[in-house]
């Protein structure tokens, strides 16, 4: 089976996988990673692990690539007259919620039922004063499944998760839009790296990890890094692309570059080595700044057990944490290729060069 | 004096009949009964306007439309709650301030009073906070339901020279139009008296009536505000200083030929009159003006205090003056 990027990415963008409830996305990743690795397993927190054994003699060094697969979303807090009240899982700006198409994963019966639904705003006159104008606080928003109230009571219970249902769509200029491109763009890049490596000789063991529960605090990455205890880790996540309303923060041109992070989570020697590889293969790699640590899995991986050196890559993305995130396919390919080249070239004694001056 | 007594009797009958916009059937039949002996023909058009013709166009005459609206502001029930309280929306411009404590009469005869929810300190009441209590104890017990219409209920009050009632806007004008309709004789003009509907919700009756009548000149008769009450609106119209000849309001600019026609007639009769520039409001004149290819139109106004409250006040002499001015205008060839 030949790996094809776009169909795989689209199928990942078409399923849910709210933090803590990653089974749907894990099921999409599983057959693809099984094909590209020697062994796969699921961690105690639901992260998905795939190992490719290296060609070096044992005990071989090992590198971990971490890309989180979980998604931000919503959760049912109450049921009233057939409408659902909601809270959020991960960081969602309430202003993007009204009118969003969602899927309610109802678990009131033995089997989970997926109910298409939408987030709605009650009219002002049904709300207290702070709901009269301006953005509606999340507590006033409702979810409508279109079902009669009795049917809702039969299928849904408090605590059920609600995922975004926006379908992935290809836009102009080799870009793609959808929910959860944060961070399935990086899972796709990791898969590209595995695909390259499957056709090459590499000395190191490579363990790709699709981590769980990143959006609620790096929970999956903590356990996986402790368990695997790699010699070093590559963390790949999305970063902020230039776009409307971006403000004056340092932002990156989508489609023109990927990023490497410079900050407290990032080992300077790994940074330098990765940068050198990018230069050698003429892959544009801009510097992203995270002086006090980025809000990524790197934060937790770095401090697992006795500590793990980390290097962080980023794929620029517009409209982060909305259901219409946009990334460039080119950037995904660049990130996959860079990781593959970096790992292919790793000598068995590479860690000797990962030092503090 | 006898003429004035007739006018007051007609007016009293008119103001005590309910007829909010869209529910003009009772008031229309009363007017029909009042005028049928005095006109050449009459009919009710598709929207419910009562249209009565007097005279046949002769040498020097014109087809004239005179419009006085028969509808009044009122309320329509939107919901009756579990405890029998009826929520409502306004028909036309109703102020919540004049509602509180008011009494209403439904078209089906049910009576009620208007109550208000608890208001916070300095909170402005709005109609959504008001309700009608018809004495019902529950929704099932209520004699009114969604869509039922009521007008304000206040008896006619004769204060001597001044008269007070709900719906002086525009029944005072209806009385004036009826007065002129009866008085005008042997006219070269073909006069269509239009007792129009749905004026308070946007001159709707006059729009279609004007199209149907296809007049050569139009006169609306309506009430206008005054500037003669303590710290009131600044406006050069007072009660008792005679008919007001409208120059403009926010709905239209009266045709100068019509204004001039009215002024000359008032001067000729030696009637007191006042020029009116109203910075709000609209009248059927605007609807007549815009019909088909356009019609010269103006408005004869009756000065009126406290418009759109349940106690609108007009002056007897102003009313009588309006009848005489209108009769004079309609009875002779029109020179433009």
């Amino acid at each position: 089976m030949k790996f094809e990027l776009l169909p795989f990415l689209k199928s990942m963008l078409s399923v849910s996988g709210i933090s803590g409830y990653e089974a749907p996305i894990r099921d999409v990743i599983t057959p693809v990673w099984q094909e590209l690795s020697d062994r796969t397993w699921v961690s105690s927190h639901g992260s998905y692990h795939a190992i490719r054994y290296g060609a070096g003699t044992e005990p071989r060094p090992k590198v971990m690539i971490a890309a989180h697969m979980d998604a931000i979303g919503l959760m049912v807090t109450g049921i009233e007259a057939g409408f659902l009240r909601l809270t959020q899982v991960g960081g969602v700006d309430s202003r993007i919620l009204p009118g969003q198409m969602v899927t309610v994963h109802g678990t009131q019966r033995d089997e989970t039922v997926e109910l298409p639904a939408m987030v709605v705003m009650p009219p002002a006159h049904l709300l207290p004063k702070d709901g009269q104008k301006g953005p509606l606080p999340q507590k006033y928003l409702l979810v409508d499944t279109g079902l009669h109230p009795a049917e809702v009571e039969r299928l849904v219970r408090v605590g059920d998760v609600i995922s975004f249902a926006t379908e992935p769509r290809e836009l102009s200029g080799e870009t793609i839009s959808g929910h959860t491109l944060d961070n399935r763009a990086s899972v796709a890049a990791t898969t590209i790296a595995l695909d390259y490596l499957s056709r090459r000789k590499h000395l190191w063991d490579v363990i790709a990890v699709a981590t769980s529960q990143e959006e609620v605090g790096g929970i999956g990455a903590m356990g996986s890094s402790f368990d695997i205890m790699p010699d070093f880790a590559i963390v790949i996540d999305v970063t902020f692309a230039k776009g409307p309303g971006g403000g004056d923060t340092v932002l990156f041109d989508m489609g023109k570059t990927i990023t490497i992070t410079w900050g407290s989570c990032d080992h300077p020697a790994l940074y330098a080595a990765m940068k050198a590889t990018a230069d050698e293969y003429e892959i544009p790699l801009a510097r992203d700044f995270a002086p006090s640590g980025a809000g990524t899995d790197a934060y937790d991986i770095q401090i697992a057990q006795a500590g793990i050196p980390v290097v962080e890559l980023g794929i620029p993305l517009r409209y982060m944490h909305t259901p219409v995130e946009v990334v460039s396919i080119k950037d995904i390919k660049r990130a996959g290729r860079l990781m593959a080249e970096f790992i292919t070239d790793l000598p068995l004694d590479f860690m000797n060069s990962v030092r503090w001056e | 004096m006898a003429k004035t007594n007739d006018l007051l009797k007609t007016l009293e009958m008119l103001v005590e009949t309910p007829g909010p916009s869209g529910s003009e059937h009772q008031i229309r039949s009363k007017i029909e009964a009042e005028i049928r002996e005095h006109v050449d023909e009459f009919y009710t058009d598709a929207l419910g306007n009562l249209i009565a013709r007097k005279g046949k166009k002769a040498e020097g005459g014109k087809r004239v439309m005179v419009s006085a609206h028969v509808d009044e502001i009122g309320l329509m029930v939107t919901h009756v709650d579990d405890n029998g309280f009826a929520r409502f929306i306004s028909i036309g411009g109703v102020s919540p301030y004049t509602c509180i404590g008011g009494r209403v009469l439904f078209m089906n005869g049910t009576q009620g009073v208007i109550g208000v929810e608890r208001l916070e300190a300095n909170e402005q009441p709005n109609l959504a906070k008001l309700f009608i209590d018809t004495g019902a104890t529950s929704r099932d017990d209520s004699k009114v339901g969604v869509g039922d219409v009521c007008g304000f209920e206040r008896p006619f009050m004769n204060l001597g020279k001044r008269l007070v009632a709900k719906s002086m806007d525009d029944r005072a004008a209806v009385a004036v139009a009826i007065g002129a309709l009866k008085a005008v004789q042997n006219t070269p003009n073909e006069i269509y008296f239009v007792f129009s509907v749905q004026e308070e919700v946007g001159l709707r009756g006059a729009i279609t009536a004007a199209y149907g009548v296809d007049p050569e000149v139009g006169i609306a008769v309506d009430v206008t505000r005054t500037g003669d009450t303590p710290k009131g609106t600044k406006m050069e119209v007072s009660l008792g200083k005679g008919p007001a000849i409208k120059v403009r309001d926010s709905s239209f600019i009266a045709d100068p030929r019509v204004i001039n026609w009215m002024v000359e007639e008032a001067k000729a009769q030696g009637l007191p009159y006042q020029m009116e520039v109203l910075e709000a409001g609209g009248t059927d004149g605007a609807a007549i003006q815009r019909t088909r290819a356009g019609v010269p139109a103006g408005c004869l106004s009756i000065p009126c205090r406290y418009i759109h409250s349940p106690s609108e006040m007009v002056d007897t002499d102003d009313l009588q003056g309006c009848v005489e001015l209108l009769t004079g205008l309609l009875g002779k060839p029109i020179g433009f």
């Binding site: 009118g99 870009t175 230039k242 309303g245 | 916009s21 709650d81 709707r204 279609t208």
Partner: protein
């Protein structure tokens, strides 16, 4: 006697409604819906024309000797957006057309132009916003339609855009964009195909309703009908009150059946026609509800004031969340609306317009 007609939402009907709902026909450019209407109504092609405004007007004559002329209007247009300025990089500034709550725009997929080029309206990442910012409404002026890098080759300023929402069946409900008023368009097509013989059915598929009932004005002038009926969709604000109080201002409720208008901001429904509709519904055992008297308006607002006046009324399918990315209606409410309209037209007799009938 009129032939028996019982509307259903089968595969064929759902397919038509899907095409209507998914079409892009923002006020001022209703061509896509016009094409569907023409294609569906080929059998009437000799009595169908497009007027100066773009309204599609169809006269379908009955065959009884005395037939009231009944104009039935449904508007083809929908709310939407227009691209007005290119920022480069596939980003476009836009303005809204019709009553769009800016809060409904953020984070939505859209389609642009006749080619339905996909785009999105994004928002700044929550990570880059402050708490104060998140409490401010995002103004339309600050939003952009993003069609992807280099997208300027596919779309241009002046193109109209709408939400990219596909019609979906949600149990007993339909969820889709522009159901206001494509349901009316669908119903009017069905009424024409199953028209009763006792009337002349004057069907107006109108334009620019959302910009102030502008298409219906010229359509009604053309038809000079005895009666006017607007078939539209009206809000169902039947959600729970946050504080648990009785919701007294629901406008209409889903599952309540067709909504018959007594009064809105543009029309006071003709009492004789209101009674004709409610009597029909009761006789046919069709559930119905009054739309709570209130603001807003339908094409009836333009029709009833046409020429010397046309007694008019409106009937709407109750719908939640109008003018957003998707509305939600009950299939039963939709079918009952069509059923009521057909039954009422079939029993229509001109005598209901006698002035004596006004109570």
């Amino acid at each position: 006697m009129a032939k028996k007609y019982s509307p259903k939402m089968g595969k064929k009907e759902l397919d038509l409604l899907t095409r209507l709902s998914n079409a892009l026909a923002v006020s001022g450019d209703e061509q896509e819906v016009r094409e569907i209407v023409y294609a569906e109504l080929q059998e009437f092609k000799d009595s169908m024309h497009t007027d100066a405004m773009g309204n599609v007007l169809v006269s379908r004559e009955g065959n009884e000797p005395i037939r009231p002329r009944v104009m039935v209007a449904a508007h083809m247009d929908e709310i939407g957006m227009m691209l007005i300025k290119e920022d480069g990089d596939g980003l476009f500034e836009f303005v809204v057309i019709g009553g769009v709550d800016p809060r409904q725009l953020v984070g939505k997929p859209v389609i642009v132009g006749r080619k339905h080029v996909p785009g999105v309206i994004g928002a700044k990442a929550i990570h880059l916003t402050t708490k104060e910012e998140r409490e401010q409404e995002l103004k339309v002026k600050s939003l952009r339609i993003d069609v992807g890098l280099g997208g300027s080759k596919l779309v241009e300023i002046g193109d109209r855009a709408t939400f990219d929402t596909k019609l979906a069946v949600l149990g007993p409900s339909l969820r889709g964009k522009a159901l206001d008023d494509r349901l009316g368009v669908f119903n009017l097509i069905e009424l024409l195909k199953n028209a009763p013989e006792n009337i002349d059915l004057l069907a107006a598929f109108t334009v620019q309703e959302e910009l102030g009932l502008r298409g219906a004005k010229t359509a009604a002038y053309h038809f000079t009908s005895d009666i006017g009926i607007a078939m539209d969709s009206t809000p169902a604000n039947d959600m729970p009150h946050f504080d648990g109080e009785e919701n007294t201002t629901h406008n209409t409720k889903l599952d309540g059946g067709p909504a018959i208008y007594l009064m809105d901001g543009a029309t006071i429904g003709d009492r004789r026609l209101v009674k004709w509709l409610t009597d029909t519904a009761d006789a046919e055992k069709i559930p119905w509800q009054y739309r709570q008297p209130g603001r807003g308006g339908t094409d009836a607002g333009a029709i009833h004031k046409t020429r010397a006046g046309v007694p008019s009324v409106s009937v709407s399918v109750p719908q939640r969340y109008l003018h957003s990315a998707a509305g939600l209606v009950r299939i039963d409410d939709e079918l009952n609306t069509l059923k009521l309209m057909h039954a009422a037209l079939s029993r229509l007799d001109r005598s209901i317009l006698n002035p004596q009938e006004i109570k």
